[in-house]
């Protein structure tokens, strides 16, 4: 698989070209879908085939974007939401992993808590929002805690499952070295669960966004979730739609970042 020579055969060049052409085609199709989508939206809205009052219109959204930018408010809202999301995300991952470690350490506890975790997982955390608000007040903390609640259980369950799937023989090997339980955790269980943890992270990105948006619906005075709610109240669908689109982009970027962690931490994989 290593490069055998710098000069490739003709056949290989044809192959490389066809691969590149295919990639281009995929990329082109992706871009086309985007363009067609927005163009169609714009045109249909223009000719009132779809009602711009209901679904807004790209040109209106851009106008609104410029206005928000000129106000200097655009980045404030984006920043606030991203900040809350990142905090919620990091906390969710760290606390979730710590609890998973505790459950791994103390098997009895994990058995006892299992049905409770299942129930908590299926529970619509959003219903608990108001309770959170009066426990921790109405600041950013409440938003972050709501985001935490939504991502935490999933993290615990998936990381704990990952821990339990660690190769028994690797643990046995460490035992023959006389390793303590803590060393087993440090040297085998944690590092070999890195792939699991990263895939939990990927899920968490999505959940953290959901959590923060829900939280902002409940208590925020700024942020994209706030804009969505406020835009609804003052009948500004442009604001609502623009916020949703910015949200998608931000969520995608964050996901891409986490996915890039995968390459970094799992370098030994290829």
């Amino acid at each position: 698989m290593l490069n055998e020579a710098k000069v490739f055969s003709k056949e290989h060049e044809i192959y490389i070209k066809s691969v590149k052409r295919k990639k281009m085609l995929i990329f082109f199709t992706q871009i086309s879908i985007l363009i067609i989508f927005f163009a169609l939206w714009e045109i249909l809205a223009k000719f009132k085939i779809i009602d711009p009052f209901l679904v807004s219109q790209p040109s209106r959204m851009i106008k609104f974007l410029i206005k928000l930018y000129n106000n200097g408010e655009l980045f404030k809202h984006i920043f606030v939401t991203c900040y809350e999301t990142i905090i919620g995300f990091v906390l969710g991952t760290v606390i979730g992993t710590i609890i998973a470690i505790i459950l791994w350490w103390w098997d009895f506890l994990s058995k006892v808590l299992e049905p409770y975790l299942v129930v908590l997982n299926a529970l619509p955390k959003i219903a608990l929002g108001p309770i959170i608000v009066f426990w921790v007040g109405n600041g950013k903390t409440a938003i972050i805690i709501i985001a935490l609640m939504i991502s935490l259980i999933v993290t615990i369950i998936s990381v704990h499952t990952g821990f339990k799937e660690v190769d028994e023989d690797k643990i046995k090997l460490l035992k023959t070295f006389g390793a303590s339980k803590f060393q087993i955790l440090k040297y085998v269980v944690l590092p070999s669960s890195v792939p699991t943890i990263i895939s939990a992270l990927k899920i968490n990105v999505g959940l953290s966004w959901v959590g923060v948006i829900v939280g902002e619906f409940l208590v925020a005075k700024e942020g994209l979730g706030f804009l969505i709610i406020f835009g609804g109240q003052v009948a500004q669908l442009d604001m609502v739609m623009l916020s949703i689109i910015i949200l998608s982009i931000a969520a995608y970027l964050m996901y891409a970042f986490v996915a890039s962690l995968e390459d970094k931490f799992l370098g030994w994989k290829n």
Partner: protein, 314 residues
């Protein structure tokens, strides 16, 4: 009666939220006033005025029921087939100011105090700020306003120690009082004066196409209003309780009594220009940008149906 039911025309009505504040409408449904008019109401809840408006515009509802501000905004956005208000149900704000102790309340006392209000951009919050301004205080300067808490969480936030006052709708305000969490010290509705707080509307085209339905609908609402006026709070509570699963009849009665006393419900469905104009004042004083132009009354309101109803029904 089998035959009669077959002839009923179905009307899809979307209310903004489920609230005892709208008792006359529930009375009209439960007492069969709509059926008498040959209508059958399919009621759904929008959970937000914007959503009610969307329901109507997207043709998922025939008639919307929420604050007129949505109709005003829509007109200003230049939609051809805009919405038109044709009947009014409540003529005041339905919320109350709840404080921590019984007091001889004066709005001027609020200086330096903190109030939990509604979400920014919503009419309840605008009205509150309008009243504060009318009493010579500047919102967020003389009076602290907490506006970032969702409607469903404000009572709890107050009870857990936040703020000096909270603006609450019923039955939450009475509940809180009953639980010893606070005392109703003032009616925001009384202080604001008459405004068209919650009204029925439909798109212009729908009204043009279905004047008879609108007329029948308005008739039924008017009958409901008359019924409410003539009956005691307890009777009203009994008539509407089926709309409020798990509610306590006593509490409902208290609340209805309170709304009755302060003249919350319109006696008729006629929406007056003066009242609408006050609402627009309130919005503009809150934030001029929200309402750069004031839509003409004749365009967005029709009183034709309400007049007819008042004339016809005794």
């Amino acid at each position: 009666s089998q035959k009669k039911e077959e002839k009923l025309t179905k009307v899809r009505l979307n209310e903004v939220v489920r609230s005892i504040f709208y008792a006359p409408m529930y009375v009209a449904i439960n007492k069969g006033f709509f059926n008498e008019e040959g209508l059958e109401i399919e009621l759904s809840t929008g959970q937000g005025a914007d959503k009610t408006m969307q329901q109507v515009l997207s043709n998922n509802a025939d008639i919307g029921f929420c604050g007129p501000e949505q109709v005003i905004y829509l007109y200003n956005q230049g939609k051809d087939d805009y919405a038109v208000l044709f009947a009014q149900l409540t003529k005041r704000d339905g919320s109350f100011l709840v404080g921590r102790q019984k007091e001889d309340f004066r709005w001027e006392n609020l200086k330096g105090k903190t109030i939990i209000g509604g979400r920014p951009g919503g009419v309840p919050q605008m009205t509150l700020e309008y009243i504060i301004r009318n009493h010579g205080l500047l919102p967020n300067k003389d009076v602290n306003l907490i506006t970032n808490i969702a409607f469903t969480a404000t009572a709890q936030a107050f009870k857990s120690g936040l703020g000096d006052y909270v603006a609450l709708f019923e039955p939450t305000a009475s509940m809180l009082e009953k639980e010893g969490g606070g005392y109703i010290v003032a009616s925001i509705g009384k202080a604001s004066g008459e405004i068209p707080y919650t009204c029925f509307f439909a798109t212009k085209s729908y009204i043009e196409k279905n004047p008879d339905i609108i007329q029948k609908f308005t008739n039924a609402i008017y009958k409901g209003q008359l019924w409410v006026e003539k009956h005691s709070a307890k009777e009203i509570a009994e008539a509407v309780i089926s709309f409020f699963p798990g509610s306590d009849i006593k509490l409902l009665t208290t609340v209805i009594e309170r709304y009755k006393n302060q003249d919350t419900w319109s006696k008729d469905p006629i929406l007056k220009e003066e009242a609408l104009s006050r609402l627009m004042d309130i919005i503009q004083s809150y934030n001029r940008e929200l309402l750069p132009n004031r839509p003409p009354y004749e365009k967005i309101v029709t009183t034709e149906f309400a007049q007819n109803a008042v004339n016809k029904i005794k």
